[in-house]
Symmetry: C5
């Protein structure tokens, strides 16, 4: 995530777009320039057609398309914000669990305290990588070689960590180191860990429906390809900047929506999952030391 000052207008307006966006947009813009110029040349100077055009159709459909894009961006933003909420909950929940375990497990029981001190942050780190390229167990700070080996055999690491945490709690209950009601209270936190994981996996694995996504792209395409026809008869070569301007706005919106709706990667707009996992580690350590 880029840290930025939202009130610094000039900085934001003249800031160069992130490389990826430039890479994506430039060829499209060039193609549109050539295409519009060609169409204009053919109609105006080559065939010298007495072309009678209207902007009414494109005005009307432009508003409809605009509505679609605004909703598109907003539903992408909703996903992004849901992802943020889930990670906020994870931070919260990790703190809560640590704070409760601190009160419930006696200071002498260093073994169990260490178990939770290591595995609660490990869940956050594993989840972060699971939502990116996949978990590499080497980077999880777990000192118990036995657990490390077990994790190495599993495919779904964060899932298995939850399972380990749950087994530990159940053992503590059976050994009467936790009262039944303390167990109930901790179970609530545990349930949320797995709900958070499930929510993030859902966001990652569900793009907007195929036909919806295809339709918006086809709509933008058909719209901009026919756009020169609406302006040529009156504006001649000035049609080129007009088409580029409209095209730039429409495609930008779609690109932003695409960027935002996958919030767990390492891109510019993605959520600061690395920082959040670090924060969880620091907080849990402080509470369970």
């Amino acid at each position: 995530m880029v840290k930025y000052n939202p009130k610094n207008w000039f900085g934001l307006i003249f800031h160069s777009y992130s490389r990826q966006v430039v890479k994506t947009l430039t060829p499209f813009l060039l193609i549109m320039v050539v295409y519009t110029a060609l169409i204009t040349f053919l109609i105006e100077d080559y065939f010298k057609l007495d072309f009678h055009s209207t902007t009414v159709v494109h005005s009307l459909l432009g508003i409809v398309l605009g509505l679609f894009l605004v909703f598109r961006v907003n539903s992408a933003y909703d996903r992004w914000y849901e992802g943020r909420k889930l990670w906020g909950l994870l931070l919260n929940n990790s703190r809560n669990l640590a704070s409760k375990l601190n009160a419930m497990i006696s200071q002498e029981n260093e073994e169990d305290r260490k178990f939770f001190r290591e595995l609660i942050p490990a869940f956050a780190f594993a989840m972060k990588d699971h939502l990116r390229k996949g978990v590499n167990i080497k980077y999880l700070k777990i000192t118990d070689e036995n657990i490390k080996k077990q994790l190495g055999e599993k495919e779904h690491i964060p899932n298995f960590i939850t399972s380990l945490l749950y087994q530990k709690l159940n053992n503590l209950l059976l050994k009467s180191k936790l009262t039944p009601n303390q167990f109930l209270v901790l179970d609530k936190e545990m349930k949320e860990f797995s709900d958070i994981l499930g929510g993030c996996e859902r966001i990652k694995n569900t793009p907007i429906p195929y036909s919806y996504s295809m339709f918006i792209k086809k709509f933008i395409f058909t719209y901009t390809v026919t756009l020169p026809l609406a302006f040529i008869s009156e504006f001649h070569y000035i049609t080129i900047p007009i088409v580029i301007f409209v095209f730039f706005i429409l495609v930008s919106v779609e690109l932003i929506a695409e960027e935002i709706e996958e919030p767990f990667g390492g891109d510019t707009n993605d959520l600061p999952t690395q920082e959040l996992a670090d924060k969880i580690e620091k907080n849990v350590k402080e509470l369970l030391d």
Copy 2:
């Protein structure tokens, strides 16, 4: 569900529409071409009417219609996403239940473990088919012939599986194989199974209200049928591509909304319920082995 790369614009724009959509749209488009051509011919060349037309009414109503369609697609999308959320919850919940049962039922008690190992995934498979054509018990991987026979006598299979799971838990409580608080914790998961089932049934059985659906279709119909009148006096035969263009956009949106709002079938845009059920089976097996 079609797996696709949302960033591959060219692929998406020129990708041929799914057969079903083509089948639905082509005759309509042809009818519109013939209709518009006929109207134009009659007014322009046959009766040679001095027809004075306006695009103002269609501009205004076009925006209103556009608003309806955008909301229509978005409420269809909300359903689709709610369906996805429910199946995500099912995956989550199945894992949770298995993970908790694994901690609570001792490794020696192979009989009860097997019961849950088979019936938790069976619920997912039964629900998947229940939301499609109906459940065929043959395809459920249940080895206990007694249970299979019982299922064969019932109409609502997923419902009855929940009931079986609940009876088993209650028995374990009565035999003191579960403590009262463990029972409370497991009950929460069970409740969610039946909430998920109920939610999916609701989505499947509730189309948008009859008069609303009828109104949108009548609006699109009246709008496109009168559309040629707005353009003929100025554009003559060029009216044909204009009308087709607008018609294509409007009908596409309605068709997409119709496709998306029933997310549990086997169509291109439907949810990958088969894959999710397979995943549940694999996960539950790993956890309860």
Copy 3:
């Protein structure tokens, strides 16, 4: 609720509107025809005014009015869907309660089983009628004459059924036929029964605020009454179909919103509460037999 095939376009477009809508709309449409014709005649042929008109004001206000109507329909739809959700929950909850009671109350205790087998569906039937014209106890399938007499003395029947169910559960707890945790689990289901009832009553008793409803109707009225003035100078008698077309769309939307927002009656678009109550009866019988 009308069962219909949402993909059958022709059927839907040419389907005659339900009688009620026709009855409501026809006189309005006739009045508008006469009114517009009169205005046109007076201005064009009688006073022969050199009337200079504009469509800008009506375009602008038309979009604002369109926005209001779209939001209006959507908030009506939200209510309708909330009603559907609540009835879906009722079905779910009745099944859940029956399934749990089946596991908790022994097969021998036929008396208590019968009590629940009759009263759970009775709640659904009573609620259905309570949301329509009022409950007639004769139609509730309750064999216990004592309960029937008690119900006869009360005004709010579904409320009193919940109270009876709750008393029974409390008695079972006091007689130790239910463990404290089983009681807790069943209490959750009971709470939802009364939440569902409360939600449906709220939807039924709360129309949109008076001034909002009045404003939308005044807006539509003022808009259509002044609409002829915008078109006369250019379109003369063709103003009549234009005004009727716009008027038809605007009033239809408002009528649909009115129909949808009260979903518990016996009208065409209303929820199938009768079918749902029947389904509850069948399901609960199967589970508690």
Copy 4:
């Protein structure tokens, strides 16, 4: 709250606006008439300026303003509906609590039954007045003079009633007149009482942000003040009814939003909190008699 028949169109359209709205609107409308007439006179007849005007800017900004107003009304409506939901919950919750207490407190224990029979409705009445002008203890039907005196010393009456109810429940638990699980069940209802109170206080005490409210009013003002300039050159004195028409629509919307967003007063559009409190009293009495 005005009870009205939403299907009686003529009644609603020609119904005279509530006095308050008329009082507010009339002077504004008169000022606008004078202002527009003056501007028109000055430009057209006094200075005889060759004024070249455009309606494009006002069309565009009119749509933006319309969007703001629609959202404004809808967010006001959401508040109103949230208030309605909270009072619906209160009715529900009071019934539930009474129904549960009826099952849990024996018929002989008239003292405790009377305590709840009086204090549950007292909470509703106190909350109603607390959200209006403040509570007058005289109107609360409490017979216990001791409690009345205690209430007289407190500032926040509904809050203190919840506290009294909670103390009573805790005492019943300590005296073993309630089992621990019955206490848990009742605690849930109590928590909702205070959540309902908190929600209503929030709605009452939080107008939309200052700068947002100020902006919308400034936007309407600037828009209507400059509106004559857009029409004068073409419509001369007909500008006056056009401006008044647009102004009337815009200001009406804002006034409706203002009326709706404070739903707890005694105005025409406000919620029927008096009736609801009466209903709670009647219901609780029936259940706890």
Copy 5:
């Protein structure tokens, strides 16, 4: 937060904007005046270009931009309102916890009562400052020097206060001063404290995504910079007020959104967190005295 009368139109319209907004807007407006004047001068009087312009493109894109801004303001308002809800919950929760502790901890146990009487409000004050510039322990009214010292060593003060409260509750449970079910009931309130804190931190730390914010600013910039070109050929120097008018509206909306979306500072539109914390202190004192 500014207290204002939303029905005092004149006061609101002519009220001078808060200094900050004026400071931000004035230079922008001046630059736009100079820029538009220069462009007009160059095209009209210096190069005397026969410039053929159109307002269609800016009309269309203006509506799209308007849609974005309306959604932008509304999502900012949603954040603001969520912040308000969380603080309302905090008030509610603090009261609830105090009210429950009052019933559960005997009047003689002054030590524990004092602990909660001081630390519950301290949480609110610490949270308020934590969301602004950071907590200064001097301003927290805690008399126990030991606790004060502990707080001084921690970074995240509100978090640590929750931890202290939780430890105290756990100790009371272990010393049997609280029954297990009382502990369960209090745990729910404690969980909400940390959820409220987490929610507020999320709102504070998550601006809208970088690329979205940048896009809106770029869109406004490009739009207003090209706006003069659309009006010059027809309106000459009158283009200047037109451009300024549009520019003023667009930038105002964005500025309001920016102001509203960070609701925890000390600015004009920010939430009255100081007053709410004072209220919590007063209420808790009254209840636990």
